[in-house]
């Protein structure tokens, strides 16, 4: 599992590098954070069809031939989802403890909590993606949109796979034979994957949402 997680470091590393390269190269909205642009450039892009009207609605003239465009990233909202994922790591490690020290009720309870928190996180992601789509940011909008959705979308996919794995373990624990001879090992392996997903989000949250463009 550690070798697999090492390969995942390379995988997400390349995606994060791509995002960092494109993050500061956006010429037109939607921008990740509040940005000032030339009004003439905005109007020219709108008339030529290079800019969607919905994206232009987030900009307002501030005089001097410039417009301020509101950033599309919602840090307070994403902070909540970050807290949810962080708490899911706490519940996951408690589930591993329960599995390793022969406390099946403890394991099942905290596994259920982890699954639910993972689903809540995915709900936040879906809401964010839909909101961005309505505000004019899609995979095809610009390089920022493409790199953002690929990076966070693939992370979300990893979270979804993790939820499936944990739900499978939870259901399996209700069988007459439980999780077999080594429940601690199985839950620990799933825990390693889940914690790694959380660790990747720590990096993604910092790079995408906290560090300004």
């Amino acid at each position: 599992m550690w070798i697999f997680l090492g390969s995942e470091c390379l995988f997400f590393g390349s995606l994060i590098a791509t995002y960092l390269i494109f993050k500061g190269e956006i010429q037109l909205p939607p921008f990740p954070s509040d940005t000032i642009v030339a009004t003439a450039d905005l109007e020219a892009a709108l008339h030529s069809g290079a800019l969607e009207e919905v994206a232009a609605e987030h900009c307002e003239s501030i005089g001097g031939g410039q417009s301020e465009c509101a950033g599309i990233l919602d840090i307070p909202l994403t902070s909540q989802s970050t807290f949810v994922l962080l708490m899911s790591s706490v519940t996951m490690v408690l589930a591993v403890f329960g599995a390793q020290y022969g406390r099946p009720r403890m394991m099942k309870g905290w596994l259920l909590a982890t699954v639910l928190l993972g689903l809540v996180f995915l709900g936040y992601q879906v809401f964010e993606f839909r909101t961005f789509g309505q505000e004019g940011l899609t995979l095809a909008t610009n390089q920022f949109g493409a790199s953002f959705f690929v990076l966070t979308g693939l992370h979300g996919t990893h979270v979804a796979v993790g939820v499936v794995i944990l739900a499978s373990l939870l259901l399996g624990s209700f069988r007459r034979t439980g999780l077999g001879a080594e429940p601690g090992f199985q839950v620990e392996m799933a825990g390693l994957y889940w914690h790694f997903v959380d660790v990747v989000w720590i990096v993604i949250f910092t790079i995408i949402y906290l560090i300004p463009a």
Binding site: S89, Q100, G191, L210
Partner: protein, 106 residues
Amino acid sequence: MTMHAEHEVEEQHGLQPMQYVWIGVALTIITVVELAASLGPDLGHALIPILIVLSVVKFIVVVAYYMHLRFEHPLLWQAFAGSLALGVFVVIALITLFWTDITDVI
């Protein structure tokens, strides 16, 4: 196995539940500090290093204690650290290669 031996096993392979909870509290506090640094007063050029350091601290804490790497055989953390170092190298290499090209175009 005696009670003392069982306790020794627990000490070697991880922490107690409340310790994990307190680590979670600490991680939450660090996240709040990151948010305050990002959304609060203008820290100028100090903002990015502060955020990176705090993220690295969270990363190490989760890997060491939640993923139990601190209590595992050295070969495991060496394997993971090697892959992580290679991943960081890939990030730096890609940024160095392609950032230069984009700034030339602008």
